[in-house]
């Protein structure tokens, strides 16, 4: 016998210092703030919480993007496309959504698309679209 059990719980996760700064800049200024690693000076975007190379913490804010280069992408039925992009000025890569790019090519130039309604987190970027095409 199979019984279905449903669970509904509203979770909310603290973003932490660097990610809060990142969220506030997106929300208020449509700017993308990476962070300089306190250990090795790499520019992290997403900003943290810790550097993948040296484990250092996200430090001073560094503006990156909104231009970016496509490193990898994947498309899922009914779920859209996702991309790994390197924002201009960043050393790490950001995983996000790929929007309105009919023929993605690794190495192509992309640009962040900001959401019209912004709440202060990563979703304030709707995704990355082809460079030069503003909605």
């Amino acid at each position: 016998m199979i019984v279905e059990g449903r669970v509904q719980i509203p979770f909310r996760y603290a973003a932490g210092a660097a990610a809060s700064r990142f969220g506030a800049a997106l929300r208020d200024e449509r700017r993308i703030l990476g962070a300089r690693c306190t250990g090795c000076d790499r520019v992290l975007c997403p900003p943290g919480p810790f550097c993948g190379s040296c484990g250092g913490a996200a430090g001073a804010a560094v503006e990156v993007g909104p231009g970016a280069t496509l490193l990898a992408w994947t498309e899922l039925p009914d779920r859209g496309a996702f991309a790994l992009v390197r924002l201009d000025g960043a050393d790490g890569a950001l995983a996000h959504r790929l929007v309105d790019v009919p023929e993605p090519r690794v190495g192509m130039r992309l640009r962040a698309r900001f959401a019209p309604e912004r709440g202060g987190d990563i979703r304030d970027i709707e995704g990355f679209g082809a460079e030069g095409i503003e909605r």
């Binding site: 997403p46 550097c51 899922l76 950001l94 995983a95 990563i122």
Partner: protein
């Protein structure tokens, strides 16, 4: 973990339930079947078990402290039990640590998982960074697609090769969960996460594994298989902070297990590859050429269950050594997005 002055760890018994697409049994019933088989194989009863290490993950079981559901069927009432939330191979490796530490003489290592309970990939979203990744809907499947894309760059024949590999593996297995398909059928199967097609992923179902480990001072008379080395590793979480085209974590885990990258004595490898492309990452990281038999029984493509995979690979290696098919074998477990975490155990005939 390498051989030293501490007790050797023998694999005294193994048992398995499933994998099947959907086991109508409850989790404890399924686990008990695997445990009873392992105890019988080791020719001991529950009284012969001194300590238990289990592997399971609450969210995947839909149950808080989900090892509470199996306490009595693993014989852990009034005994020490530790639950590692991760791949089942970790339960065996940690059990081996307890034996080498001299904490006890016999350990039962158990893992279970039921993919039939919930859409598996949707659950994995809750294992992703909830600040930067989960809100975008990025789960383990998305990460596998990104990794496959990174691997396929400048490699025109990649998808055909993966389809052939998946077809070969699936044909070697007993097709408990999904029917085997030809490479052409796999290439024509629906997209899972491009460039991966559905047939390039191992079929997920329900199953449990149990292994009896024993501190063995003597030698081959006590048990025919011993754990000669073990290692594990965690890579950075964010796929953007990793080289997706290499399993560096597995390289480090193998080194810790005392495995030379071109180990000539390795006669079998049983990797936990949920996707066809991962087998290429595995070979490169573990330094395994085409000559060493790899997943002769189909590996995970014969069907697998969440968090059970690594322990099932250890059982496959142990059985091959007992059957005389290999004298030295590598069992592998993996968890996390795009192979973020790895564990390996080197098994040897005694």
């Amino acid at each position: 973990m390498r051989a030293g002055d501490r007790p050797a760890v023998a694999i005294a018994g193994v048992g398995q339930a499933g994998p099947v697409a959907a086991d109508s049994r409850s989790i404890p019933e399924m686990v008990l079947a695997a445990v009873e088989e392992a105890l019988a194989d080791a020719a001991i009863g529950f009284d012969g078990v001194e300590a238990v290490v289990t592997a399971s993950v609450d969210l995947f079981d839909g149950l808080t402290a989900s090892n509470v559901a199996i306490t009595e069927v693993v014989g852990a009432v009034m005994r020490p039990e530790t639950r590692i939330a991760g791949d089942g191979l970790c339960a065996a490796i940690h059990g081996a640590c307890e034996l080498r530490a001299g904490a006890c003489e016999t350990v039962l290592a158990v893992a279970h998982g039921k993919a039939s309970m919930a859409p598996h990939w949707a659950l994995t979203e809750w294992a992703m960074d909830p600040v930067f990744l989960q809100p975008l809907g990025i789960d383990f499947l998305v990460c596998a697609g990104l990794q496959a894309c990174a691997l396929a760059q400048g490699d025109g024949g990649a998808t055909e090769r993966w389809a052939e590999l998946a077809a070969r593996r699936a044909a070697a297995g007993d097709a408990a969960i999904a029917p085997p398909r030809s490479a052409a059928e796999i290439l024509a199967s629906p997209v899972l996460a491009s460039p991966l097609r559905r047939g390039m992923a191992a079929p997920l179902g329900d199953g449990a594994c149990a292994v009896v480990l024993r501190a063995a001072a003597g030698g081959p008379g006590e048990a025919p298989v011993r754990i000669a080395g073990a290692g594990w590793d965690l890579e950075p979480h964010s796929p953007g902070e990793r080289d997706l085209a290499r399993w560096h974590g597995l390289e480090r885990a193998c080194a810790r297990a005392g495995l030379d990258r071109t180990d000539p004595g390795l006669e079998l490898a049983e990797p936990s590859c949920l996707f066809a492309h991962e087998e290429e990452l595995f070979r490169a990281a573990a330094g395994i050429g085409e000559e060493a038999p790899l997943s002769p029984g189909g590996g995970l493509f014969a069907g697998t269950a969440p968090h059970v995979a690594g322990l099932s690979r250890l059982i496959a290696c142990a059985r091959a050594i007992r059957d005389g098919a290999a004298r030295r074998a590598l069992a592998h477990g993996a968890w996390g997005p795009a192979g973020q975490a790895h564990a390996v155990a080197v098994l040897e005939a005694w």
